[in-house]
Amino acid sequence: MRESLDHWPYILGAYGVGVSALIVLVVLSWLAMKRAEKRRDEVKRR
């Protein structure tokens, strides 16, 4: 007899990979933008 595979670990794994990758992308893009604009303002002021 073949046991049916539990799909939930795969579903949670897929959502974990997808959502965490998107959070990292958004946070890093936001930080890079803020850092670049802050540096530009500093260079302008000097």
């Binding site: 959502y15 997808g18 959502v19 992308l25």
Partner: protein, 226 residues
């Protein structure tokens, strides 16, 4: 919010499907990622064409800004597809047309990012990256038609222009997810465009300042010129 709502909807409220079972929930993150991975390269190709034809100054910045989120969505598509394949197909990976052409797209993104970063550092021509962006676009119709042209484990397109093989209980959350992830993609592209513009302004200002600070060296000694 739309992306988050769609994720919650797909994860907790969408019903299990008769053939795929519970793993159908992965579709709500896999399909938008696939579309945006391909859409991202289409955006690069359009921006590249604008750069080559009209030499629009924002075109190169837009193309560079699209590349990273495009690559991330492409990677999410491949990862979630692989995870979905294990319980559904019984394998993590299959070298068929759809999966292989999507993997090629990931490598194209990596190559494009490496090329544009090298160009930005060494002051190389933006045209080379634009040509790369246009040539790479050949892969997009190949990905799209791969399930029709070749025998594939991957199912044929469920949603085509004007009709859908999906019922409303899957189609509606999927469309919400597509809209939500597209807005997220757009927001990331705008953030990256602002970053690139700020970096260019810093570089221009520093270069101008360096030129202004240089002492003026007369071509002949002053005594001679008088």
């Amino acid at each position: 919010m739309l992306a988050g709502g769609a994720v919650v909807w797909g994860l907790f409220f969408a019903p299990a499907e008769a053939l795929q079972g519970e793993s159908v929930r992965i579709v709500f993150i896999h399909v938008p990622s696939a579309w945006l991975g391909m859409g991202g390269w289409a955006g690069i190709a359009i921006a590249s064409a604008m750069l080559l034809i009209w030499k629009h100054p924002l075109a190169a910045i837009a193309a560079r800004a699209i590349a990273m989120p495009g690559m991330v969505f492409c990677a999410i598509c491949l990862a979630t597809g692989s995870i979905w394949g294990r319980p559904t197909w019984g394998t993590w990976w299959e070298w068929d047309g759809r999966l292989t052409s999507m993997l090629v797209l990931l490598f194209l993104y990596a190559g494009y990012i490496a090329l544009t970063q090298t160009n930005a550092r060494s002051g190389g021509s933006e045209k080379i990256a634009a040509i790369f962006g246009l040539v790479g676009a050949i892969n997009i119709p190949i990905i799209n038609r791969s399930v029709v042209w070749w025998n594939s484990l991957h199912q044929p397109p469920s949603i085509t222009a004007g009709k859908s093989a999906m019922t409303a209980e899957y189609l509606i959350p999927l469309l919400v997810a597509v809209i939500g992830f597209s807005l997220l993609f757009g927001a990331v592209v705008l953030m990256r465009m602002r970053t690139l513009i700020a970096e260019q302004q810093i570089e221009a200002r520093l270069r101008r300042r360096a030129l202004d600070d240089q002492p003026v060296i007369p071509s002949r000694p002053l005594a001679e010129s008088v």
